[in-house]
């Protein structure tokens, strides 16, 4: 298989790239939702992200990518202890995937041929400690959405079916993309995404030509192109790793907490998830920039993507909620 398009070679779409880098630094932020027109590089960015992410250490052969030998689930049978490096899993959840494939099911093969009751893990198991990517998330079947909501919340997949009773960890970063013209997302699912960004096609010819030029080079002059950009990608990977180290030691002054709260109150966002995500994202942003203290600047840099999907929906508001956040942001935090 050819290598995916390099992440750093994506032209523009800064908000989308920023959001993805932030979740790579702190998976606790809880996922990215990318909404926008077709052909704006949504899928490209996710595939590129998979190649960009640092490798994880996991027990060899473990179906849920456990980090320690004692975490390998009992139902797996074998007890491997060897630790290997493997790429961070980025798992595709295709539309119309059956429940069996998502949560896992009785292993028909073993049941029929050997008469054993064994569990065949699904996509959620494979996505543990990694990313779960749903393209066209707004077209996803309701019953799969319900399953995801529960698992994304608890970080654990519980399977009670066909005589099986099994649970395994399923902590993943949810990445969704879609085109809002084709249908909207339920507020419950929206809320599970930490950050949301809207992407639009570049509006000037120069940018578009640059996109074409890079894509063309990627396809027709693959090796030279990858060589140029691999260096940039690995620099970005290094700064993500560095940010992960800095993150726990970051100082968060009380004034920033105050800013978070007053911004969310002014926007009238439901619940406290808004504040918490905003703060986490601001910390990740500060760590990425190499600062030792979170400031209002970091807060402002992430506020739109952390809050724009949490506002009460106003059916009569033609302008997007993104502009509402921007307006209130300038009013509240000058």
């Amino acid at each position: 298989m050819t290598q995916p398009f390099p992440f750093s070679a994506i032209v523009g779409q800064e908000a989308m790239k920023q959001a993805m880098v932030l979740t790579a630094i702190d998976p606790g932020i809880g996922g990215v939702l990318v909404f926008g027109d077709r052909g704006t590089g949504k899928s490209t960015a996710v595939r590129a992200l998979a190649a960009l992410l640092p490798e994880i250490e996991a027990i060899e052969g473990c179906p849920v990518n456990s980090a320690r030998a004692q975490d390998v689930p009992d139902w797996f049978g074998a007890k491997p202890t060897k630790i290997v490096k493997r790429p961070t899993p980025v798992i595709d959840l295709p539309l119309g995937a059956t429940e069996d494939r998502v949560v896992g099911a009785l292993d028909i093969e073993r049941a029929l041929t050997r008469g054993e009751k064994a569990f065949e893990p699904g996509l959620l198991a494979r996505a543990n400690r990694g990313y779960l990517y749903i393209d066209e998330v707004n077209l996803l079947e309701d019953h799969i959405v319900d399953l995801l909501l529960d698992v994304a919340q608890s970080g654990e997949n519980v399977v009670e079916r066909e005589g099986l009773s099994i649970r395994h960890p399923a902590r993943f970063v949810l990445v969704g993309s879609g085109n809002p013209e084709e249908g909207e997302l339920r507020p419950q699912l929206l809320d599970r995404f930490g950050l949301s960004v809207e992407v639009t096609s570049p509006r000037d010819v120069e940018t578009r030509v640059e996109v074409m030029r890079r894509r063309d080079a990627y396809e027709n002059d693959h090796d030279a192109f990858m060589k140029t950009w691999r260096a940039k990608d690995s620099a970005l990977r290094k700064s993500i790793l560095a940010a992960r180290v800095v993150l726990p030691g970051l100082k968060t002054p009380g004034a920033v907490l105050h800013d978070c709260a007053s911004l969310c109150i002014a926007l009238g966002s439901d619940g406290l998830r808004g504040e918490l995500t905003l703060l986490r994202a601001a910390r990740a942003q500060a760590a990425f920039e190499g600062a030792d203290t979170v400031t209002r600047v970091h807060l402002k840099a992430v506020a739109t993507s952390a809050l724009s999907h949490r506002l009460r929906r106003d059916p009569l508001d033609e302008a997007g909620s993104g502009s509402r956040v921007a307006r209130i942001l300038t009013e509240t935090l000058p």
């Binding site: 298989m1 077709r38 295709p94 059956t98 059916p315």
Partner: protein, 556 residues
């Protein structure tokens, strides 16, 4: 100036491009009803496997071949069609559900060489999902081609082979990338996949024509093949009047063109030349289609009738004997249970300890699911009632929409005024679209109540065929004065609307009549009785009250 391609020459070019560089161009969207002309085109396709919109995951990705496994006593896998990277033909593509199109898109992005989608949509709205149309590079519409316009197509295998060898070394003129991108941008094509397809198409076409560097004519034709169907053209009034709009362009003659071209095009911007090619290639109804609303064009997975007692989702029902496959899933526990009593018998005489399962033991899963609801608003926008009340009706629809969104209901909007009824908004869950259409709803004219009911009836039947549960909400002042045939005759109008009401009732459609006249109308009450629907007189309805009434009528 280079002539645009003649329709049949365009078909030939498209097929050549497809044969030369299937992986680069990704595929062809062929819009045509089944006909002898289409057969001529399909006969020239590269060898490909055919798939249909109802194809299931096992057939696509492969899986366990159950019958063979049982017989052999060890696991037998079947291979899916997506496993080998061979071209695919998707028949009846306009009926492909979003799930399938998402899978095929993923396959195209990944390793699939190309997909040929045979789109037989009858209406402009009936077409394949935009996830696919965006990825397939080429578009052909055979709608206007008669048998006499065509001739047998045979691509010379030697020429294809030569073109394939030449392809890697083909280069484009320096400014080609820039000009193709600007043209696509000028046409308002948002997707960046379009100019990429145009580039790939230009390369393949140049290789096919044996050009080491793609000529301007090739670039023009590539733009025509890949961009013409995608976008809107820039303001026509700005462009110079088309010199000969009605005469069909003669088929291009390569030798002659090459000679004339440079001096003719020297004083023009190449972008303009490309744009002109596209304009000439536009199907006649494209602008009309665009005006009718681009968003409505793409299928939203509604083409297939949703299965209500299906094998996929919903509440489980008792399993049935049957063979898994084609969407049916095995119920393993039930299967084992069915096989268990027979084990001693079956093992007799056979020296085995393994489970003996026969095909007759297989049980499949069934589920029951409640279907999506669709709320059809038939709104009286006539002069008599509506000037005062139309705003209120709009308000109610809008408020209800917010709730329908939360409950995942679909909403459709019909307005009747003047002499006819009009479908303002086909069933949708999109808030954005509904708001836009609603805001633009005009008022005034006569009251063709019967026509409104008829359209509501037709729409309800359509949505029901798609597996949804329709409810009709009629908002009117009841003074129907236009008969079904469009004549202003009050008595006939009355009779017609009562007839339509009977038809609605006979079809068992749940309904609701809301009287928005200033005083309650006895005629409307009679109609509500005829419809077997709740009747509500709302002399001074405010939108909020209307909404709560609607909710109660629909059972919350």
């Amino acid at each position: 100036m280079t002539e645009p391609l003649a329709p049949w020459a365009r078909v030939e070019c498209a097929l050549a491009v497809l044969a030369v560089d299937p992986a680069g161009i990704k595929g062809l969207w062929l819009r045509a009803r089944a006909s002898a002309v289409r057969d001529r085109v399909t006969a020239a396709f590269p060898p490909a496997r055919r798939i249909h919109p109802g194809i299931d995951d096992t057939a696509l990705f492969g899986g366990v071949d159950l019958a063979a496994t049982l017989g052999a006593g060890h696991l037998v896998h079947s291979q899916g069609v997506l496993a080998d990277a061979a071209p695919l033909i998707l028949t009846m593509a306009e009926r492909s559900p979003p799930g399938l199109s998402a899978r095929l898109s993923r396959w195209l992005d990944d390793k699939g060489p190309c997909l040929i989608a045979l789109d037989e949509g009858a209406e402009a709205e009936e077409t394949l999902p935009s996830a696919l149309t965006d990825r397939l590079g080429l578009f052909l519409d055979l709608g206007d081609l008669g048998w006499s316009d065509t001739e047998a197509l045979a691509l010379d295998p030697a020429q294809i082979a030569a073109a394939k060898t030449l392809l890697p070394s083909v280069t484009l003129p320096k400014d080609a990338l820039q000009s193709l991108t600007s043209v696509a941008f000028a046409m308002g094509i948002a997707s960046l996949r379009a100019p990429l397809s145009a580039l790939a198409c230009a390369r393949a076409l140049a290789a096919w024509r044996g050009e080491a560097v793609a000529s301007e004519r090739t670039l023009r034709h590539a733009a025509e093949l890949t961009l013409a169907h995608r976008g809107d053209l820039p303001d026509m009034s700005e462009a110079e009047p088309d010199p000969e709009p009605d005469t069909p362009p003669p088929p291009p003659d390569p030798g002659e063109d090459e000679a004339n071209q440079p001096q003719d095009d020297a004083d023009r911007l190449p972008d303009d030349v490309l744009l002109e090619a596209i304009r000439a290639a536009l199907p006649a109804d494209l602008l009309a289609r665009l005006a009718a609303g681009r968003a409505a064009r793409s299928a939203k997975g509604s083409g297939t009738g949703a299965v209500r007692k299906g094998n996929h989702r919903g509440r489980p029902m008792p399993p049935l004997p049957g063979t898994p496959g084609s969407g049916k899933r095995i119920d393993l526990v039930a299967t084992l249970r069915a096989a268990a009593p027979w084990q001693p018998l079956r093992r007799r005489g056979v020296d085995t300890s393994r489970l003996e399962i026969r095909k007759s033991d297989l049980r499949i899963k069934r589920y029951q699911q409640s279907s999506d609801r669709v709320l059809i608003f038939a709104v009286d926008a006539s002069g008599s009632s509506a000037f005062a009340r139309l705003a209120e009706a709009k308000g109610a629809v809008e408020l209800l929409l917010a709730q329908a969104y939360a409950r995942r209901d679909h909403v459709a909007l019909i307005a009747f005024r003047g002499t006819s009824a009009e479908l303002i908004l086909p069933p949708t869950r999109s808030l954005v679209q509904t708001k836009r259409r609603l805001a633009a709803l005009p008022g005034g004219g006569g009251t063709p109540l019967a026509a409104g009911l008829r359209l509501a009836f037709e729409l309800a039947q359509q949505t029901r065929a798609r597996g949804m549960t329709p409810t009709v909400a009629l908002l009117t002042d009841g003074r129907g004065n236009i008969a079904l045939d469009g004549t202003p005759n009050r008595e006939m109008a009355e009779a017609d609307s009562l007839r339509m009401a009977r038809a609605l009732r006979a079809a068992g459609l749940p309904g609701l009549v809301i009287d928005i006249a200033t005083r309650p109308q006895p005629a409307l009450r009679r109609m509500a009785e005829m419809l077997d629907a709740p009747y509500l007189a709302l002399p001074r309805a405010d939108a909020h009250r209307l909404t709560s009434v609607l909710q109660a009528a629909m059972g919350g």
